[in-house]
Symmetry: none
Subunit: 203 residues, 4 copies
């Protein structure tokens, strides 16, 4: 077989990535509205028209960034195995995942700022996309709480509410790490957060 049919011109792919990176930074610095195409192309070192060669609109780049981030995050979140004997203990699995997610987000500062900015994106579609994304995570957490309660691992509680609280905690902690000039290490952050969260819900 010859090389894949969908293999796009690598140079174009590279250009695209370059623009995406510039846009991500600018969006993170200035928010969606504050980010001007001018700022993006300046950072990307390209001409105005070139931008529109790779993205239909300002909204389109923004969406692209969100899509990629959501894909990456999803790839780092897996259902925790509690029954399989061969699997690591649940708390170990959990900790590993949380660390992975945190490292990904905190390692990509622009992305983190973008995600934290959630709430009010100007573009209705993008806002809905973000809402949906966080909704998914909240659902994931809620189901985890529910099954934890079923098997007696976790105390009886209002799963919806607890899930919302957990998600909020995560966001709050990330925000701290992002903004704090000398933030605690990821390890410390995750430990503290898990301690609070687990003590809050364990049976």
């Amino acid at each position: 077989m010859a090389s894949s049919v969908v293999a796009l011109d690598p140079a174009k792919q590279e250009r695209r990535r370059q623009i995406l990176a510039a846009a991500k930074t600018v969006f993170a610095d200035s928010g969606y509205h504050g980010a001007s195409i001018g700022a993006i192309i300046e950072r990307a070192q390209i001409a105005r028209g070139t931008f529109y060669l790779y993205f239909e609109s300002k909204t389109a780049v923004f969406d692209s960034i969100l899509d990629q981030a959501m894909k990456d995050l999803r790839a780092r979140i897996r259902r925790i195995e509690v029954v399989e004997q061969t699997a690591a203990p649940p708390q170990v699995q959990l900790r590993a995942q949380v660390v992975a997610v945190f490292e990904y987000i905190v390692g990509d500062r622009p992305l983190a700022m973008l995600l934290l900015s959630a709430g009010h994106t100007p573009d209705v579609e993008a806002a809905e996309r973000l809402d949906q994304f966080f909704g998914e995570i909240r659902d994931l957490l809620r189901r985890a709480v529910e099954s934890g309660a079923e098997i007696g691992l976790l105390r009886k509680c209002h799963p919806e509410l607890v899930a919302a609280a957990m998600l909020g905690m995560i966001r709050g902690v990330i925000e701290l790490v992002i903004h704090d000039p000398s933030p605690p290490s990821i390890e410390v952050v995750v430990s503290e957060m898990l301690t609070v969260a687990l003590r809050g819900v364990l049976a």
Copy 2:
């Protein structure tokens, strides 16, 4: 009681409140950037120039709204008395305060939406103002955690981090209440949240 030193013409004060209320709704509906002076003056039923008679700029109204909210919140938060014999038990005091705060925020839907929209407003000034607002609240929480730890009520922890987690939890839960079509009662919300939070940090 003596009248305030800054007591302005009551008619002016009323006008000001009217504009503030209109602006709060518009900001809540459309975010900082999406809110136009046009929308605000239309809602406030005043002329364009009048707006600038009461506020220096768009940013100024926004700041005013946050200031008022912060003042209102502070008024609902008092140092919890742990030594005084006459005082109610700390947990009761705490619960009463949290309920008061929640009722204030959730009762003012526009304010709640405005605050939730936090993160990144495009306007640098506005974003900083919001950051500062939440920073103040986080400080409040951090000091509470610190003194709780000092008197041995709370476990040893990273106060900054725990405060951030708490603030995040609060935001997450408020978001749920605001957006959920049939949200749990404030009582339930506060109970659950306090349970999680306290178990997470009690010694």
Copy 3:
């Protein structure tokens, strides 16, 4: 009774007229697309924003101009009275009308150029408006030819076709008058045109 309720601020009306006049000239000089808002406001001696205070968009001014022109032209075209004894002879009525219409159009050079530019206006709506306008005139002509034939004044012919030819003649002649550096007088123009047209269709 007080002054009319719909009497708009005369100053605003004047401003509007001023912009309209500037726009008409610019459109005539450069066509719809070639006309830039920049050119219009420069000619009207107003700021960019002011333009949008009086007109929603570039299209809106254009439409306004067309509307006015069509109204003015319609006011100059009346059904010719052939049965009434008191009326002037048909040919005299006809001549008077044609002269009036020509004087109006030729006297407003920008308008003439605009109308001649018909055909391809960029904006679909505007194009349809123009088509409709000329369609009305063609219908008027067709009905005139039809009734002329009925009463035996005009020869038997294909009314649709003849009407189209007449309308074309009018446009062609106007174009000449507009572009010719030293055009014949309106009197001559109308005489010659009516001669050709009448000889072409009289019984």
Copy 4:
């Protein structure tokens, strides 16, 4: 037959024709300004750069189309022979020519639409080019009217004006034929038009 002096590479010539055809359709559909190079090369199935290998600019293609049309029209118009005994009667010659011209134009719908769209193209150059095109035709007609008058065939008149009227008539009638969903046959059209025109100017 000897080969033309300018005989270019036939392949290139073909390419050129292909682009010309595509451009003609696009211009007809969208007007000069509305036609984008993008649309033309898409229709012509060529790359962007290739277009500029065959034409200097957008204006150049437009000019080329008009030039070709003018050449084709001229090829269908010959001086009418009135003295030669062997020639067909003048009216027969005229009718044949007019039919030929009409068939050419109406048979090439894109060209017809392009020409009808005349008047004002936003681009000054293009507008001038169209004006020139019709100016040439008007001259042709004017000279015909002048010589007709000289030999006493036509009545004394203002040749310039009559030529303009004739040209307008032609345009008007073509417009009808092009836009009418069930237009009269070319034969009918030409007959009616010639009747009107000739009665209008014969001595």
